[in-house]
């Protein structure tokens, strides 16, 4: 993917807010003193009357978003994933998900690719926390193109949405004419017969990089982009698993409870299939340049290829 253009999904998020905010005056955006980082500052600069900085008070921000939504607004609330899904978890649960209010949580700086800030800021549990909530839609776009579509879909969807964005510039992979996004639909990126790779977020581009490496070892992998983790596209996963009999998940999150957890729940009940979950194990992240961390934790093309190859050989 070295040749592809790189854009951070948070950047696309900020741009999409500006784009769709022009058409829809009901869109309001809240931030918690991170508008420059989450990129909601773009919206603030375009529509200063509809952007509210709540200061470093994420719990209140989520509640304010709930109140705005209860009064008819489409309320976006942004912070780092750690402080949105983590610190304000209970406000999201009780004030947003339970009353099914039209709040869109734009959580940036998710995963270890936050980089140098280290473990305190590397939220690895947000997918697990958010997908466990009734009424919540959870989306984790793979690139800037998909991030824009996620924002558009979130606006069109009536109800709570959690959107996971990254700090790191990632390859643009969806700038193709036939690209189409729909909430709850996985996207088959490459057909294969030996193993299914279900990737989400920045792991999609890494998994694309892994494909030729796997082919060199005679492994014909099927690759599916799972952007919507809730509701999960059960059909596409079950169909692929029935064909390949081996499923690997790849995500920049703790493997317990995230995409790997969701897929394991599905397959164990409906089509028991050998699985390998790629992600972060039972440990916290650490400081370091994002790309070096992704390499260390096996979330690059070669890292994913290595794990998939070992898994296929074992089975």
């Amino acid at each position: 993917m070295a040749e592809a253009k790189r854009i951070a999904t948070r950047e696309a998020y900020g741009k999409a807010l500006v784009e769709f905010g022009a058409q829809n005056p009901d869109i309001v955006v809240l931030d918690a003193d991170l508008a420059g980082s989450t990129k909601t500052a773009m919206f603030r600069d375009a529509y200063p009357d509809r952007h509210f900085n709540c200061g470093i008070a994420e719990a209140n921000m989520m509640g304010v978003a709930a109140g705005l939504a209860a009064a008819g607004k489409i309320a976006f609330a942004s912070s780092f994933a750690m402080f949105a899904a983590g610190r304000a978890y209970e406000q999201i649960r009780n004030s947003i998900a339970y009353p099914k209010l039209n709040v869109k949580i734009g959580a940036t700086h998710a995963g270890i690719s936050v980089g140098e800030d280290g473990a305190s800021h590397q939220c690895l549990e947000d997918i697990a926390l958010m997908r466990d909530l009734p009424n919540m839609v959870v989306m984790n776009p793979a690139d800037a193109v998909e991030a824009r579509e996620v924002v558009k879909a979130a606006i069109e969807h009536d109800g709570p949405v959690y959107m996971r964005f990254g700090r790191l510039a990632v390859p643009v992979i969806n700038n193709k004419p036939d690209y189409h996004f729909e909430i709850g639909k996985g996207e088959l990126l490459k057909e294969g017969t030996d193993v299914t790779i279900l990737a989400t977020g920045l792991c999609v581009a890494a998994a694309i990089d892994a494909l030729p490496l796997l082919a060199e070892h005679g492994i014909n992998a099927e690759l599916i982009n799972i952007c919507t983790i809730k509701p999960l596209d059960e059909d596409i996963i079950l169909r692929s698993a029935a064909k390949t009999h081996r499923v690997v998940t790849a995500e920049e999150a703790w493997i317990s409870g995230g995409l790997g957890g969701a897929v394991a729940e599905l397959l164990s009940e409906k089509l028991p299939t050998k699985m390998k979950r790629i992600g972060i194990g039972d440990r916290f992240g650490e400081s370091g340049p994002a790309l070096e961390l992704l390499d260390k934790y096996g979330l690059t093309g070669s890292g994913i290829a290595h794990t998939v190859e070992g898994f296929v050989q074992q089975q």
Binding site: D49, G55, N60, G67, L68, G72, Q91, N94
Partner: protein
């Protein structure tokens, strides 16, 4: 509405609280009873609300931040006409609209689902902000417990309300001085309450007797004149007010009366009704 009528309604609210909590065999009578007069004043005198127009964009909003006092809110709403008074006996029953804590998904007319303390006031801030954005003139009222003030989110919200000049927001503290584990001053003293809200940019009105309609009327009238900042009404109330054995008794924060206690409580409230009838005849 004159004070006598308000007092009669408040007493009916208190009966509704006792009936509901007794039927549920659980719930929170103490703080519901202390807030009964505030709830009555809001629903029958202060707020522009109509059970036949619950989606009216210009209606005033009420958020019960101290969501555990749902029995009081439900009783006031039933008497106002949102649903039949008899439905109060379904409180906390399986399949009931009257959930243990208010849920806007279950009961039309509930403006915000609450119960987890500290969260209602934030939502009220959001509603007040939306009203200003839309150029509407509605007011937003939120009732907090004094124990609830121990939640940090309350102060995040107070700071926000002050910083954003939410003058259509009216915060009311039901200051009955008791929480589950004991007197608020002993558990984790939130005093001075008025000076805290003042420091966060609120116009503060101290009400020495929050069970007195003259004082409540004066406070809410003053609140409506305040421009550029939210108002916080700190209303000293009597926990368990109206039921002899529940008054100022910490043990009745979250406990239902048994059949025997139910009879005593209802007899207490019947006596108040009789006195009010006599007063009305004078």
């Amino acid at each position: 509405m004159d004070n006598l009528e308000l007092k009669k309604i408040a007493n009916k609210v208190r009966k509704g609280i006792i009936i509901g909590v007794h039927s549920a065999k659980s719930g929170h009578p103490g703080g519901s009873l202390s807030a009964a007069d505030i709830l009555t004043y809001l629903y029958f005198e202060e707020m522009n609300v109509d059970p036949d127009r619950i989606k009216d964009p210009d209606r005033d909003r009420f958020v019960l931040s101290k969501g555990h006092c749902a029995p009081g809110l439900y009783a006031a709403m039933a008497i106002k006409g949102y649903f039949p008074f008899e439905e109060l006996t379904t409180l906390r029953h399986v399949g009931a609209r009257l959930q243990g804590h208010p849920s806007m998904q279950y009961l039309p007319g509930i403006e915000m689902s609450t119960g987890s303390l500290g969260q209602g006031i934030s939502a009220a801030c959001g509603m007040a902000l939306a009203g200003r954005l839309d150029g509407r003139n509605y007011r937003v009222y939120t009732l907090l417990g004094d124990g609830e003030l121990e939640e940090g989110e309350v102060w995040e919200a107070a700071m926000f309300a002050g910083a954003k000049h939410l003058d259509h927001l009216c915060i009311i503290v039901d200051n009955n001085d008791l929480q589950i584990d004991g007197p608020i001053a002993e558990v984790n003293d939130p005093h001075p309450i008025d000076r805290k809200f003042e420091a966060f940019g609120c116009h503060v009105i101290n009400v020495s007797d929050g069970n007195d309609f003259d004082q409540l009327r004066a406070a809410f009238e003053e609140a409506k004149t305040v421009k550029g900042k939210p108002t916080a009404i700190i209303a000293k109330t009597l926990k368990g007010k109206g039921v002899s054995f529940m008054e100022n008794a910490v043990g009745w924060h979250g406990k239902a009366p048994n059949d025997e206690q139910f009879k005593v409580a209802m007899a207490d409230l019947d006596r108040i009704d009789e006195e009010l009838e006599k007063g009305g005849a004078q």
